[in-house]
Amino acid sequence: MASERCILTLFDNPDIRPEAVRYACGLAKRVNASIIMFLVLIFSEQSGQKPDDIRVQELRTLGEGLLSPFLEAAKREGIEVRGEVRVGEPASEMLKFLAEDHVLHSVVWGGDNSVLDTKRLRHEDHWLDRIKDKFGCPLVSPKGPDAQERKEGISIEPIA
């Protein structure tokens, strides 16, 4: 049996964009969906390094720490939310996740927002561009003035 529909909020960078979380929370309330905050910490095997179990666990703990305040903020908004941290090659980790039993409502991209900027060619090299058709649901990227927010740390205003 599949789970209820959810919004996948996707990050591939410790530099999490608060406006993506804020948008996902607003959307979740509007369409009555839960949220999965999915953070992939890139550890490329092409670099010749193989992450040992201890290093993977360290990275996972780091990721959980990064997600934690965002998860708490979403919970305070009354949204059903959980976090998932993966370490490895993002496209492959994403495909593994999609192979599980998830009913995705939409995907909110919370990584570098220039990745999906259609005016730039750079996005063509990004892993997200290679797998975006596999989602089977809308992929959106809220873009906002986030640099200052990131400098100042994490702050999520309530979403009415």
């Binding site: 049996m1 599949a2 209820e4 529909r5 406006e19 804020r22 948008y23 607003g26 959307l27 309330k29 509007r30 369409v31 009913v103 409502h105 939409s106 991209w109 999906l116 900027d117 259609t118 090299d125 290679r130 975006k132 058709d133 989602f135 089977g136 649901c137 809308p138 992929l139 959106v140 990227s141 809220p142 873009k143 906002g144 979403i159 009415a160």
Partner: protein
């Protein structure tokens, strides 16, 4: 203020008349002025105006209140602003009770006049807009609740009309919140089965056993606790339409049982062996790529073809944004039936924001936005202040994931290169020759497309 609005100024004081005309003319209105109540009443008998500004106390016996009465008699939508001196404010308030929009106290300031006139004209505009939209909705909503006049929606309505009278099974695809159930319901309501049940079943909400029991019913002693026989939902919907939504999530064993219902037009209750004839039309819906599920062995191919006799695809709201004003007004009207609020419509700015957003949650999301806005609205117009912040000034990049099986040139090139490589046993020189490019170009493409050996 609305351009080309028709205004009538009624004042026996020439200076006041000219002042008002000068203040309001700047806003591009078409202005007529008369010096007496009698002239105003005569003019109102011949022409219609959007707004009348009339002095309360006029010479020659016909007062501002008489002008108000004549204006409302001629056209109830005409707004009237009563101009009054300090001494007659009480009477002006009395005029408002008789239907005047507001009063303007002499001496007036230009900004005050413009502001009040703009508000009155906006009220007229909204009332006209609501009336037009109500009429549009009325003309198209007898057998369905699918709102829209865009080419995409009209072609869906046309297809529904063609498909409904047949008994063909239908698959409806489209993103969440696009109105797949409305389409299924419209097909049912326009079919010969309209007088019977329309039964929506969420395939994602049940386990295999529970779904089997609910759908097919059971015989006495079929399992522990089954103390009596019970008909299932399919039997209770006999003669009607069953709508399976999220059909891609239907457990595979259940798919086999459903196939039997479609092919043999009969069912067997859980724990029974009696073949019970059944006559139902099946409509299924999903937001998944069902063909992909078939390829992955998650959905039975024979059932897929049995269901996919007619395929209807609901467009995402972002693909028919021209329907947003009509949809928004319809949804507001529905919401206000449950809410005691005097909201009349949307400001132009609010509508601009609603039309500019991309709605990953489609019509369901629009409905929620309007419901929230109506609840928070403190005036009679929904303005930008009651819309969610993330709709404003936030760019949403959206990829159309539903390409109806069409591929981009790059995808085709990638697939073709892969195919050629397989054909020549991954010999790069031969592959480059066949592809008509040099080896360096081929290596570059292999790297870009991440095609490995």
């Amino acid at each position: 203020m609305r351009k080309n609005a028709r205004l009538l100024i009624v004042d026996d004081d020439e200076v006041a008349r000219k002042n008002l005309a000068r203040i309001l003319k700047r806003k591009g209105c078409r202005i007529s002025s008369v010096a007496s109540g009698a002239e105003a009443v005569a003019k109102l008998g011949r022409e219609s105006f959007d707004l009348v500004l009339a002095d309360l106390i006029l010479e020659e016996g016909v007062s501002g209140l008489d002008v108000l009465e004549a204006a409302k008699k001629r056209c109830r939508d005409t707004e009237v602003i009563i101009i009054t001196g300090y001494a007659s404010v009480e009477t002006a308030i009395g005029a408002m009770k008789k239907g005047a929009y507001h009063y303007l106290q002499k001496p007036f300031r230009a900004e005050e006049v413009r502001h009040l006139a703009a508000q009155a004209l906006e009220k007229t505009r909204l009332r006209n807009q609501v009336r037009e939209l109500e009429e549009e909705i009325r003309s198209g909503a007898q057998t369905h609740d699918i709102i829209g006049k865009s080419r995409k929606i009209l072609s869906i309505l046309d297809l529904i009309e063609q498909v409904a009278p047949t008994d063909a099974n239908v698959i409806i695809t489209g993103e969440s919140g696009t109105g797949k159930e409305l389409v299924a319901s419209a097909i049912h309501r326009q079919s010969r089965r309209a007088g019977k049940h329309f039964l929506p079943i969420n395939c994602a909400s049940f386990t295999d056993e529970l779904l089997a029991n609910e759908l097919f019913g059971h015989e006495k002693d079929a399992y522990t606790g089954a103390t009596s026989s019970r008909a299932g939902l399919l039997e209770s919907a006999d003669g009607g339409t069953v709508f399976f939504y999220e059909v891609a999530e239907m457990p595979v064993p259940m798919q086999a049982k459903l196939l039997r219902v479609i092919q043999e037009r009969e069912l067997i209750r859980v724990g029974g062996n009696r073949h019970i004839p059944i006559d139902v039309r099946i409509i299924a819906a999903t937001n998944k790529d069902l063909k992909k599920h078939v390829a992955q062995g998650l959905f039975r191919e024979d059932l897929y073809y049995r269901l996919n006799v007619i395929h209807l695809h609901m467009p995402a709201l972002a693909e028919h944004k021209e329907d947003i004003p009509l949809l928004a007004s319809y949804l507001l009207e529905q919401i206000l039936k449950q809410m005691d609020k005097p909201v009349k419509g949307f400001s132009d700015e609010a509508m601009k924001i609603l039309k500019g957003y991309d709605y990953p949650g489609n019509v369901r999301e629009l409905e929620n936005i309007i419901e929230r806005a109506a609840a928070l609205c403190r005036t009679d117009v929904i303005d930008t202040d009651v819309l969610p912040d993330d709709l404003k000034g936030v760019a949403i990049y959206r990829y159309d994931t539903e390409k109806h099986g069409m591929k981009s040139m790059k995808e085709i090139e990638k697939e073709y290169i892969r195919w050629v490589l397989n054909q020549v046993g991954h010999n790069k020189s031969r592959a480059a020759k066949i592809l008509g490019i040099d080896r360096a170009s081929l290596y570059r493409k292999l790297k870009n497309y991440e095609i490995g050996d």
